[in-house]
Symmetry: C2
Subunit: 159 residues, 2 copies
């Protein structure tokens, strides 16, 4: 089982997302992350899907995706030479002055950014690949993670 | 019709995404953007959904989301005091040396970053709110957009 990355251009119509998600769930496996957003053409969206599957099932899914109505193009970016990035927001307990100081040090060392400061929490933003994002989570975990919102991976092929 | 933002914590099990997407498509309206990623607990994912609907339908959808199996918590962040961000990758034709120079100027002025340089294209990364991302798209459009991957909005409430 390996993580694969599928990028699909779809018409921006209702029901497309449900059909794509249904196709994965009918085969009994989970989407690890999914990012769907408009492209330069507001009629067309791009879905980037990360999921775990063996190669045989992956081939079946790609074929079926290509057959779905409103799906324009399917690219398999697994192992391809591409730029891939994720975005995360993490809200962490700010606690004591000493804890806050340590959190700022972690944020600086990771090239992340503090984007919101509340009475009892700070919210950190970071962009990077999966490993960088996971490293930040582990570094701030000891201070107390209150909430995380994470986009999932987006990717474009290098050319 | 207004854009609303729903943030839902869901169990990381197959079929949840299909059920949530189905709930929206059954009511005949489209998800504008969707970001799904793991939280600090690998068993739990957060979905951030942006869609267009009137308030009455929104109330129905929130109720039905709350009733869905594997849905842990639903928050309506529409108009709430929150940090919201998106991430975009844009591949633009690099064309002539003069065009490249202008693209670099746009990238610098927007606080964006060039993350990949190919023979005939450059890939730009930017993080920000929807308006900032849309502004970047319009600024680089004249040079020729080849591909866009956009995450959709993620948001955490200020507290």
């Amino acid at each position: 089982m390996e993580n694969f990355v599928i990028s699909a251009l779809v018409e921006n119509k209702f029901g497309v997302l449900a059909r794509v998600a249904g196709l994965f769930s009918a085969r009994g496996f989970n989407i690890k992350s999914l990012a769907v957003g408009e492209t330069e053409d507001p009629e067309v969206s791009r879905m980037t899907i990360v999921a775990e599957a063996d190669e045989k099932i992956l081939e079946q899914i790609k074929k079926q995706l290509n057959k779905l109505i409103n799906v324009i193009k399917v690219q398999d970016l697994t192992g391809a030479d591409c730029v891939d990035k994720e975005l995360i927001l993490i809200k962490v307990k700010s606690g004591t002055a000493k804890a806050r100081e340590k959190i700022v040090q972690v944020v600086d060392s990771m090239g992340a950014e503090i984007v919101d400061i509340g009475k009892k929490s700070v919210t950190i933003e970071e962009t990077g690949d999966e490993h960088k994002i996971n490293a930040l989570i582990e570094l701030v975990r000891p201070y107390g993670i209150l909430e995380i919102a994470r986009t999932g991976k987006i990717a474009l092929q290098s050319e």
